[in-house]
Symmetry: C2
Subunit: 321 residues, 2 copies
């Protein structure tokens, strides 16, 4: 099959959801245009922004960093080493290798050095790993951005991530999460920086193809903590539908964004496990502005911020041993 | 494993979605209670009703008729012979056998005799079989009910049907269908009789178990016209989720009913194929009352009702041959 754009080279990437197929060159063009369009339509980024790109070492975040650099944005990478044996070491290596080859030195937060590696923290705090991970990541995203003068934090969530999350929220009629789900979360207060997901228009297959064709070396394994996360089940269900009806996933998520997002609902969601990586909330829509954490000065709606409370719980549990 | 209710007999039906397992006797009790509860909470039926039960010959509709008779409702069966070679003959036989054994004689509408068998009608009218089937069935449900003094039409749609339909409507943000989706569609005008789905709380697995344990002999094959209907894909996707997270399907649909059903949305649904059996709309929410079809007197919002228009199209196409 020939590329449907240039009609010259052989097609390398088949995209049934776009009823198209591209050669590598045309695919890069297509991919970048999708990202540009995603940024433009929702005003995610401006040329003046200083962008903190959160890079886990997986394909999505490295591809995001790659495209944003290509598009000329001022970016730096932030890698949070979660302290998961093996997996975290391999992830960190990939990030450092990618950045090094581009003359960049990523900011690295080492959760072992911070005394709060995810597996141990979850165990001590008796919480789900994904929930703990979400709390810790949000904290450092905001802290590093605020302290180092970044205007926005960008994460690599793609269309598959966002549509799976949307499906989960709808299955549980989780009004609270539905009202907050968006590729743009504006800055809510000083220290609660704007969060954006510039890859919201591109699928996992598309980021994988971009990563492969660009020769980006990334960690292919899933995070071992999230293997039974519900988000993977929703992804699988949507993949099944997408296979039979290409384009459904895209229409589903884009259709949602076209709504006013005020889907009515009783917030009847039981405490199911969600990968905290997909829960980038800023505030809960509270009316009053945040105050400062009495322990670390971070913006918070409670006396002590959730990170400091978690850390105290972990520390105390550790001391009891 | 012992029955979780009586704790004496062996469990015969395992229901993870209810975190339970029942012996046959307790399962019947459970099943009937679910139906009673479904009827009561939404005021679907009253003891005064004369209920026209639409029986296809499949498990759901025969189980519905069975339970409604057990519960003491005044029912008659209506079977529409769709004129699908083989399948329709086998379906009709099952209905007649079931009814005969209970001293009942179902009303039968033979679409071949009416000159509008589904396969030929769809071909001549150049429409999807499921869409044609939906139009024809709705027409006869209303006509037979109105002419024979039934106060309500009952169909065998179960929880799997309704949740799959809901998922499809949400994936396409089909506001029009979302606003009409409910186990109760009230009488909209004379001749547009009330429609109810008393099995909306029970799953396909549960109706199958009821059918099997009661010894009801039903057609097990799917309608050959609907084999590539999108509804089957949505069912499969929900089954995948249900298997990993039992109870999700039930919470999803019940959560929807608890909403005010005014899910905002652009009606951007493309003309996808849906089994018309699942599209029991009455009116479209038009403001003015219906008038009478100039051809057949049925209530309609256009000069000629959709059934008569379809029939004319089929007749003309046939004459052209």
């Amino acid at each position: 099959m020939k590329c449907k754009r240039c009609r010259k080279a052989d097609a390398a990437v088949d995209l049934p959801s776009h009823n198209s197929a591209f050669c590598p060159g045309c695919f890069f063009l297509f991919f970048r245009r999708q990202v540009v369009e995603g940024i433009r339509t929702l005003s995610l980024l401006s040329p003046e922004d200083r962008v903190l790109v959160c890079v886990s070492g997986g394909k999505d975040s490295l591809v995001l960093w790659d495209v944003l650099m290509e598009l000329g944005y001022r970016t730096e990478g932030l890698h949070i080493d979660l302290g998961i044996e093996g997996y975290s070491d391999r992830s960190r290596e990939k990030v450092l290798a990618y950045a090094g080859a581009r003359g960049k030195e990523p900011i690295v937060v080492d959760l072992r050095a911070e005394g709060i590696p995810i597996p141990e923290a979850a165990k001590r705090a008796r919480k789900e790993e994904c929930s703990v991970c979400g709390t810790v990541k949000r904290y450092f995203f905001n802290r590093i951005a605020a302290r180092r003068g970044f205007t926005v934090v960008a994460t690599g969530h793609n269309l598959d991530d966002e549509s799976a999350r949307l499906l989960g929220n709808l299955l549980h009629w989780d009004q609270d999460h539905l009202s907050r789900q968006h590729p743009l979360l504006p800055e809510m207060a000083e220290g609660l920086v704007r969060k954006v997901k510039p890859l919201w228009r591109v699928s996992e297959l598309e980021t994988a193809a971009y990563g492969f064709l660009s020769g980006i070396d990334y960690v292919t394994e899933e995070c071992p903590m999230s293997l039974d996360a519900t988000s993977l089940v929703y992804k699988e269900a949507l993949s099944l539908i997408e296979e039979k009806m290409p384009g459904t996933r895209r229409h589903f998520y884009q259709g949602f964004l076209h709504q006013n997002r005020d889907v009515p609902g009783n917030s009847g969601a039981p405490g199911r496990r969600e990968c905290g990586n997909h829960d980038e909330k800023n505030t809960g829509g509270e009316a009053s502005p945040p105050r400062k954490c009495i322990s670390c000065d971070a913006p918070t709606y409670t006396e002590t911020c959730s990170y400091c409370r978690l850390k105290e719980r972990v520390t105390k549990a550790r001391e009891r041993l």
